[in-house]
Symmetry: C2
Subunit: 276 residues, 2 copies
């Protein structure tokens, strides 16, 4: 099943996206129960919203060896692979739906980069669960782009603005409940050209390990999201660049980079951004 | 005005706490509008809940010079005062109401400590505001205890379990809308005995500076909370210890430490925990 969260006029609601590209809106939500309204909307007529606003927004950070090693080569700082599944945090203010523009503040440096990530969406309250129980508490998966400004990442004591500036956390397009990470590929295209591809599952610490370990100390709540980290590196993104992240089975998440203060009219309108 | 969030049976709602110790429940909430229900409840009959669940939970971390210097003397690590107002994050899972027990996991080390903090509660959506505009977006203030396990704080790559283990973030007892930090004192009592007292306003970066700077990059949402940091240091908390944090004008936040696996019956029942 594909859960979308969408708006029509001023109303935001959840719905199921059917194979025939029609949406079945629901009353309620995928976490606490729902019933179909009986309406049937054309997918083309709805505006996609971020598929869920989490209670807590978790992010693994460094979780693919090649990313850690490549960043080390770039920065000259010695590579340190994480030795334990220690989760981090992001801010809900920064979430952005598929198809919307990433707005880079005028005082940001040139090194604004993408990070393509698998996102786990928790479906059931969980505390103290074994790895074998983890699949039972996951609602599904989606895609995240952990947009990062590298100068602020270096200069600031925390990740507050390098990673949590408004619009820096695109997430979507929807939540797929039938996804199996094994064998999935994550692909990043920049203005249509393939930049990098990696095995989604090549994580240092996998989804079940992370969630089981987190749940020893933390209650996971329905709707919480966990961003699983990225592999490889990114070029510096330019005004007008369109970043498209696909994970096989999950569709694709596409967003354009706008540098605030740069001319927007000169850009071509992006194509109708169908998420697959 | 004093806003409380409280439960009666299975219902959680907001209410106003009147000077005569009666509660006026409301429909709605302090952020999006409300109306009094006309009911009148005795304060003694309601159960206090965390006064707000934020969209994003912010924390300043190091923001009082004496805390930074004292921690440096303890750890032997050179003191580094923050040079900019860089905000951090905490997890909503960890929030705990006034009067409830802080549950320290059985595998925690001996160095579990309190941190007494002023908490700002945002009332209005804000982006790009000047320092002079900050008071207009604040709903009010409350008290936080940034409970910290120092071994995990040292060993882990992030603050996930040292500061965000379930129950490690007591906040309350209520939101006071008339508070002025200038001249306020923060006092910490351990089992009734005064441990430490400091000028609440002696921050390295004040409330208006932090919020104005944050708002250059982040949209602040109604209900967001910002914990402003602590001064001084804490002894290691023992099973059964009761920590009471008062800020003049805000009441007091009291919680007991329970080490999971230790005998609970041997402890005296804490007094009826009136928050002032």
């Amino acid at each position: 099943m594909r859960w979308i969260r969408f708006s029509t006029n001023d109303t935001v609601q959840f719905g199921l996206l059917n194979d025939d590209d029609h949406v079945s809106p629901v009353r309620g939500d995928p976490f606490n129960g729902y019933e179909k309204t009986g309406q049937r909307l054309a997918f083309a007529d709805v505006v996609l919203e971020v598929p869920v606003i989490p209670t807590t927004f978790y992010a693994a950070g460094m979780n693919y060896a090649d990313h850690v090693l490549a960043m080390s080569r770039r920065t000259g700082v010695e590579a340190k692979l994480p030795t334990a599944a220690d989760i981090g945090y992001r801010g809900n203010n920064a979430l952005l739906a598929h198809g919307r523009d990433i707005l880079v503040p005028a005082d940001a440096g040139p090194r604004v980069q993408y990070e393509a990530e698998l996102v786990v969406v928790i479906g059931k309250k969980a505390k103290g669960i074994e790895e074998s129980e983890v699949p039972g508490v996951i609602l599904g998966y989606t895609i995240g782009n952990d947009v990062s400004e590298r100068d602020w990442q270096k200069s600031d004591r925390t990740f507050w603005r390098c990673k949590n500036t408004d619009t820096f956390k695109p997430m979507g397009p929807w939540i797929e409940t039938q996804f199996d990470p094994s064998g999935a590929k994550t692909s990043i295209r920049l203005n249509g050209a393939l930049q990098h591809e990696f095995d989604t599952e090549a994580m240092i610490f996998g989804v079940s390990h992370f969630i089981s370990r987190m749940s020893r100390y933390l209650t996971l709540w329905p709707g919480d999201v966990i961003w699983m980290g990225t592999d490889g590196t990114s070029p510096d993104l330019q005004h007008g660049d369109v970043v498209d992240i696909s994970i096989s089975g999950l569709g694709s998440l596409r967003n354009r980079i706008i540098r605030v203060g740069h001319d927007r009219k000169a850009l071509e309108s992006p194509d109708k951004q169908e998420p697959r």
